[in-house]
Symmetry: C2
Subunit: 247 residues, 2 copies
């Protein structure tokens, strides 16, 4: 079954480079990308699904900073427009009921597919995180606690774990804020090391949208904002997920 995915990608690679693809597609209406459609996407994407485990919930490995900031934001979801974004084991669950553009097909086989940020299910060892999104202000906050399976230099998170966490938080933000679907560019400047087991707070903003490209920025810092760990930016391509027709 996976073979099909390979063939699609081979075709993409040889004949349909991603950067050229949007020229062939109907343009997204900016008004729809930033209007009530945001609320529709949020309500579809962020509603709890009873049959799927949400990994963005506190567990015994969370450090006190992570836990208390989580509860602060959870309070804000009741009064201040913030929405908690659920986190399933695979993007397959996030996009249930939708088709990908560009002829990309969701293969189904017996592989244990996992989104990279849920690559380990052992609590506290890999990526512990939760994302909160603010639909009106098009911004997100991601609380991230890297575990000992994400080490770079001894005792500290690998730069790749910060890049991955930021790219993934960008990805969810870009989609919810305006159908930003694929990363085109990503850059990160490292300032200080993040100790394994501690909290890094990612503040993400949508800076602008031009030519179906969404530009995002992120500052990663300690909870007290006294230590900047890194600054990042990313560009996402806007593309629409289509609803699957009923079988």
């Amino acid at each position: 079954m996976i073979r099909r995915g390979f063939q699609v990608a081979a075709g993409l690679g040889r004949h349909r480079a991603l950067l050229r693809a949007p020229l062939l597609l109907p343009r997204i209406n900016p008004a729809s990308a930033f209007g009530s459609s945001t609320d529709l996407r949020v309500s579809r994407f962020c509603r709890p699904k009873a049959d799927l485990k949400d990994y963005a919930l506190p567990n015994a490995s969370w450090c006190p900073d992570m836990l208390s900031l989580y509860h602060e934001f959870l309070e804000k979801t009741k009064t201040d427009d913030w929405v908690k974004v659920p986190s399933f084991k695979s993007n397959r669950h996030h996009i249930q009921g939708f088709k990908l553009p560009l002829g990309l097909e969701v293969t189904s086989d017996k592989n244990d597919w996992r989104i990279i940020t849920r690559c380990t299910e052992v609590e506290g060892q890999g990526y512990e995180y939760v994302i909160f999104f603010h639909p009106r202000e098009k911004k997100s906050v991601c609380l991230f606690q890297p575990g000992p399976y994400l080490e770079g230099i001894p005792g500290f998170a690998h730069g790749g774990s910060l890049a991955t966490m930021t790219d993934e938080a960008f990805s969810k933000t870009a989609y919810l804020a305006g159908e930003g679907l694929f990363t085109l560019n990503f850059s990160i400047k490292y300032k200080n090391f993040v100790p394994v087991g501690s909290l890094a707070v990612l503040n993400i903003n949508v800076e602008k949208i031009e030519d179906q490209k969404m530009y995002l920025s992120c500052i990663i810092q300690s909870r007290d904002q006294q230590t900047v760990y890194a600054k990042a930016s990313g560009v996402f391509l806007q593309m629409q997920l289509e609803e699957e027709s009923p079988q």
Copy 2:
């Protein structure tokens, strides 16, 4: 024990930003960084260690492309200056016998520390890779096969896995080529998706060294070079590991 690491990092964060630190350090002699010291670093870093598992060896999950290209490069290690870089579970093993600069200490506790690219030990599910380094030409080739625990959009490797793999391959190349030790900046442009389970070949070059900063570039493509998956660049800070004094 980990607490000590946190305190060091807190100190670093507040008083000693990484970007300012090199001004306080003795400058690296470019001649030593690029002379016989490269051979010394390679011989120390790349020799097999009988008591440690080298994860950069073929296993049943490797696709035929990965396996055959591995054997091609292995042949080149016999005749053409290429060196196979071993890959241990943690950087703690790679830097055995050395101290980190900047007051960073290697904590020792009972945690199961893993370098991010060896975050899962299940063959084929995470990062399958091997790096070959060419000391004279200061370049590397990394053969990378992303597994289903590194998924982004269904069936394809998450952009973060390519960023992480490239940063890690940069890191080993930068150290071996001239004591490039910490990532300062990292950028990646994505062109096409890498199918899970297939081979991506990373070609890495050291472009230049200026002011104790090493500039690296990488092109990530299919084995036949017909599909460019991504292009990346990185800047590393040169710093010396000191030998530990005998107890």
